[in-house]
């Protein structure tokens, strides 16, 4: 890809790309570890990965660049986002450090480590870049990689395949929830329902309320608030900052809704009569 470009121009072009992408990737990386929301972190990571993909391409590794985009940015990051969504997209990390001295220590160790590496690189005498022209000569980069993978690294490759299968199985096993008691049949369910206090289904959330978010309790026809309408899991985690409520808590909103409903109830006859 880059072989055709003259050395000097190639240098300039490459450094331009490098500097831009370096700044972007470092910035994104910092952003990733500093934002409070996991979703933002994932997006920042995507940015880093894209930058790296381009840098791979610049480094005469087109195959890896594509793999990076497809596997990492495509598959792995999607997986991340998926899990983030399951766990709760709105949850944010608290910024208060709980382990004493962890941040300071992390900073010192991190910076010390980086300094060590820099010093090492500074002292290292790197040979002149050889370029992959010869290596990619015989059928291109993909062919070159394939040749190595299926000859020299074939054993490692096979092991990797085993690893992947195992990982897939492992993920399935882990994600699978063990059923502790037999699945209730419809008959059992209906019997239980008849025996229970409430035969009818639970009221859906948001019914008659001014807001239809799942954590908004429904208003019953008589204007009272029904806590049954909200799933207990969500009720426990109710944070209350729905933006369209303008800072009011769901309870307040619900009460306002209840007033409105009551007002409506006071005049239903007229309305009906008018209509009739």
């Amino acid at each position: 890809m880059t072989g055709v470009v003259a050395a000097g121009a190639h240098q300039t072009g490459e450094s331009a790309i490098f500097w831009i992408l370096a700044i972007v990737s470092v910035g994104a990386a910092l952003g990733m570890i500093l934002t409070r929301k996991a979703v933002h972190s994932a997006l920042m990571l995507a940015a880093v990965m894209f930058s790296l993909a381009v840098l791979y391409a610049v480094n005469e590794a087109p195959f890896l660049a594509f793999v990076q985009v497809i596997v990492y940015t495509g598959a792995v990051l999607m997986l991340f986002l998926f899990v983030v969504m399951i766990i709760g997209v709105s949850s944010t990390d608290s910024l208060v450090e709980t382990i004493k001295g962890q941040r300071v220590a992390a900073a010192i160790v991190g910076i010390g480590f980086a300094v060590l590496l820099f010093v090492g690189f500074g002292h290292a005498t790197l040979p002149k870049t050889a370029g992959l022209k010869d290596a990619n000569a015989n059928g291109g980069n993909v062919m070159g990689l394939a040749r190595l993978i299926f000859t020299k690294y074939v054993f490692a490759f096979e092991v990797t395949s085993a690893l992947l299968i195992t990982a897939a199985l492992g993920a399935m096993v882990l994600a699978h929830r063990e059923r502790l008691r037999p699945k209730p049949t419809q008959k059992q369910l209906s019997k239980e329902r008849i025996k229970s206090d409430r035969v009818s289904p639970l009221p859906p959330p948001g019914t008659y309320a001014r807001h239809n978010a799942v954590d908004m309790p429904a208003l019953l026809p008589d204007g009272s608030i029904s806590e049954l309408s909200v799933s207990p899991v969500i009720a426990r985690r109710r944070t209350g900052d729905h933006e369209d409520l303008h800072g009011a808590s769901p309870e307040v909103v619900a009460h306002e809704g209840a007033k409105t409903v009551k007002a409506v109830i006071e005049k239903p006859v007229e309305v009906e009569e008018e209509e009739q």
């Binding site: 382990i99 962890q102 220590a105 992390a106 160790v109 991190g110 010390g112 480590f113 060590l116 590496l117 010093v119 090492g120 002292h123």
Partner: protein, 646 residues
């Protein structure tokens, strides 16, 4: 050549015993018979309860018969051939240490054999009556037989190891017999005390044996005495002093005398046999047997005489103050053995008198102890003389035999004690020099005190008004007890004269201890003094205990009397110097071991445990802490790599 020199140096006793023949070649029977008796009686259990005492007595008598036969055979041999060796079996051999189990039959050992088996058999017979009501009579006879066997081994062994085995064997028998009524705590304690104090003496004997082996490379009498003159003076003196320590333990000489008085807790026949006639005289035997060593070391000899004199006075003083008839006799025993030790320390003229006095003492003291046993039997086992009195009428035989023994011990002219004791006193004076004079006069004073305390005992027991408890009805003992008394009394009367007259015994013993320089003079200037002192002693006792009534409870005495009653504070001294510090040391050591040594170990364990407990806290459970340490580790590894590279 060297042996010849040794022979000359030692004064010519026979050093090359010939192999034994005839009865003497089965001298092992002497030991085997009573040993078999003991084994049968101990192992057979209750089955032999009925006739066990008869078997024991028979075994003892059998040994006596063998001893007599051997003795008569010896009389038929000429003087040079009277030491005979009986080879039994090799005992220990390792490298240069070779000890054979051999027996030496010579005049000295045969004298002891006859005394032990003779007096021993009489006491066996006496015990049949004395112990007739005891449920454990069989065991008693087993122990007696065991004692006889061990004592015979002691005197018959031809080397110091055999002697040592017998030495400890009699110690064991003494332990068992003192503690025969072990359910009495006092008896059990006395037994233990006797054994332990004896062990202190045995310590000396053991070290002496070690020194001998290191010096002479052998432990048989023949080799040791043969080479004795070649050893350095220091070594010889050391051996002598160590042997003396051993003798002190066994013969209850100062400073190891304290056990003998307590040993009276044992049955009275035991006191008669072991603690009067035979075992306690083993120390005298040891010194006389080892005369070749002592003669080479005047220092050791001097110490022997000092110990002897000190003990004879101490024993006599204790004897004056005791109201317990057996303890008074025990004090007397100490005192009389003091005489023998003194004699043994005096060198050649003394040996004969030491052994002669030993034999005479064996008779009269055993007789008196048995007599005391007879009295106790009559008095419901009460030993307090203040509750006796006037017994001569109800117990005529006991009184007569006891009285003869009494006359013998105080040195009434013509009786055994007079011959032998006067001989010792004369020998002390003959030693010459200041030390001879001092020893002689002290021995004289001792004779006077002897007369006093024995008369006191005699008067309190047999004369005066009866002071008996109400329920006591004294009676004469049965024949099985009185016949031995009579026989022993005959020995008390005639033994001394038989031995001393015409230097008969001196000539008999000459092959072993050497010929005395001059024939013994029967009457010396000191004879009169001894007699005078004796009369004074008896008179004093007469005034105190016969003219005046004897109070039933002991009056509070002056400090001197208290001093004597408390055994010259010997026990108190032992207690404060040895027992109490020992107990403290023990407690301290146990504390040190538990807290110090073990504490150190457990402390180390606790330290490791504690440290782990603290280090454990590093495992906070926070993954990020672990990650941090991993990161630090990685940084360190990288840093180390650079350090190596750069």
């Amino acid at each position: 050549m060297t042996t010849m020199n040794a022979v000359l140096a030692a004064g010519g006793p026979e050093l090359h015993p010939q192999a034994a023949e005839g009865v003497q070649s089965v001298a092992w029977l002497l030991i085997a018979l009573p040993l078999a008796g003991a084994a049968i009686l101990l192992l057979s259990g209750r089955r032999t309860n009925k006739w066990g005492h008869l078997l024991g007595t028979a075994m003892s008598l059998g040994a006596f018969v063998v001893g007599l036969l051997a003795f008569f055979q010896m009389l038929g041999q000429d003087a040079e051939g009277r030491s005979r060796l009986v080879h039994l079996f090799p005992f220990i051999s390792a490298g240069s240490l070779k000890v054979d189990m051999n027996l030496l039959v010579d005049p000295l050992s045969i004298s002891f054999v006859l005394l032990i088996t003779g007096v021993g058999s009489l006491i066996h017979i006496y015990s049949i009556g004395y112990m007739s009501h005891d449920p454990d009579r069989r065991r008693f006879f087993a122990y007696l037989n065991l004692f006889v066997a061990a004592m015979l081994l002691l005197v018959l062994a031809d080397n110091y190891v055999g002697l040592y085995i017998g030495w400890e064997g009699v110690g064991l028998a003494s332990y068992l017999l003192i503690g025969f009524w072990q359910y009495k705590p006092s008896a059990a304690t006395a037994a233990k005390k006797a054994f332990i104090v004896n062990r202190v003496g045995d310590f000396g004997l053991s070290v002496a044996i070690m020194v001998m082996f290191a010096t002479f490379g052998s432990l048989s009498y023949q080799d040791v005495f043969g080479q004795a003159s070649q050893a350095s003076q220091g070594t010889i003196t050391a051996i002598g002093l160590l042997l003396l320590l051993g003798a002190c333990g066994k013969s209850a000489q100062l400073p190891l005398q304290s056990w003998l008085l307590d040993a009276m807790e044992g049955p009275t026949p035991v006191s008669a046999l072991i603690h009067a006639a035979t075992m306690v005289t083993a120390g005298v035997y040891l010194i006389v047997r080892s005369h070749a060593i002592f003669e080479l070391s005047p220092d050791a000899q001097l110490l022997v005489t000092i110990v002897g004199v000190a003990t004879l006075l101490a024993g006599a003083i204790i004897g004056c103050a005791k109201d317990d008839i057996k303890k008074a006799l025990a004090g007397s025993t100490m005192s009389q053995i003091g005489y023998m030790v003194l004699a043994a320390g005096l060198g050649r003229p003394g040996y004969v008198f030491a052994i002669a006095h030993l034999i005479a003492h064996g008779f009269f003291k055993a007789g008196m102890f048995l007599g005391a046993g007879s009295v106790m039997h009559a008095m419901n086992d009460d030993v307090n003389m203040r509750k006796y009195g006037g017994l001569r009428k109800v117990m005529p035989i006991t009184f007569a035999t006891f009285g003869l023994g009494y006359l013998a011990i105080i040195g009434f002219p013509g009786l055994s004690g007079w011959w032998t004791k006067d001989g010792i006193i004369d020998a002390a004076f003959e030693k010459g020099g200041t030390s001879g004079q001092i020893l002689g006069w002290l021995a004289l004073i001792g004779a006077g005190i002897t007369a006093y305390y024995m008369s006191r005992l005699m008067f309190m027991t047999f004369f005066g008004e009866p002071r008996w408890d109400e329920d006591v009805h004294p009676h004469e003992s049965p024949k099985v007890m009185t016949v031995p008394l009579i026989l022993l009394a005959i020995g008390s009367v005639a033994g001394g004269a038989f031995l001393i007259l015409g230097d008969r015994f001196a000539k008999f013993l000459a092959p072993v201890v050497g010929e005395p320089e001059a024939a013994h003079k029967l009457v010396t200037p000191y004879t009169a003094i001894v007699f005078a002192l004796m009369v004074v002693g008896v008179g004093l006792a007469y005034v105190q205990y016969l003219r005046r009534p004897v109070p039933r409870t002991a009056p509070a005495g002056n400090p001197a009397v208290t001093f004597a009653r408390k055994d010259l504070y010997g026990d108190a001294l032992n207690e404060s110097l040895l027992m109490r510090p020992g107990q403290w040391l023990t407690r301290l050591t146990v504390y040190f071991d538990n807290r110090g040594v073990d504490g150190l170990v457990n402390g180390l364990a606790a330290f490791i445990g504690g440290t782990s407990g603290r280090v454990r806290r590093v495992q906070t459970g926070f993954v990020r802490s672990y990650a941090l340490s991993m990161f630090v580790g990685a940084a360190l590894v990288v840093g180390a790599l650079f350090l190596v590279r750069i």
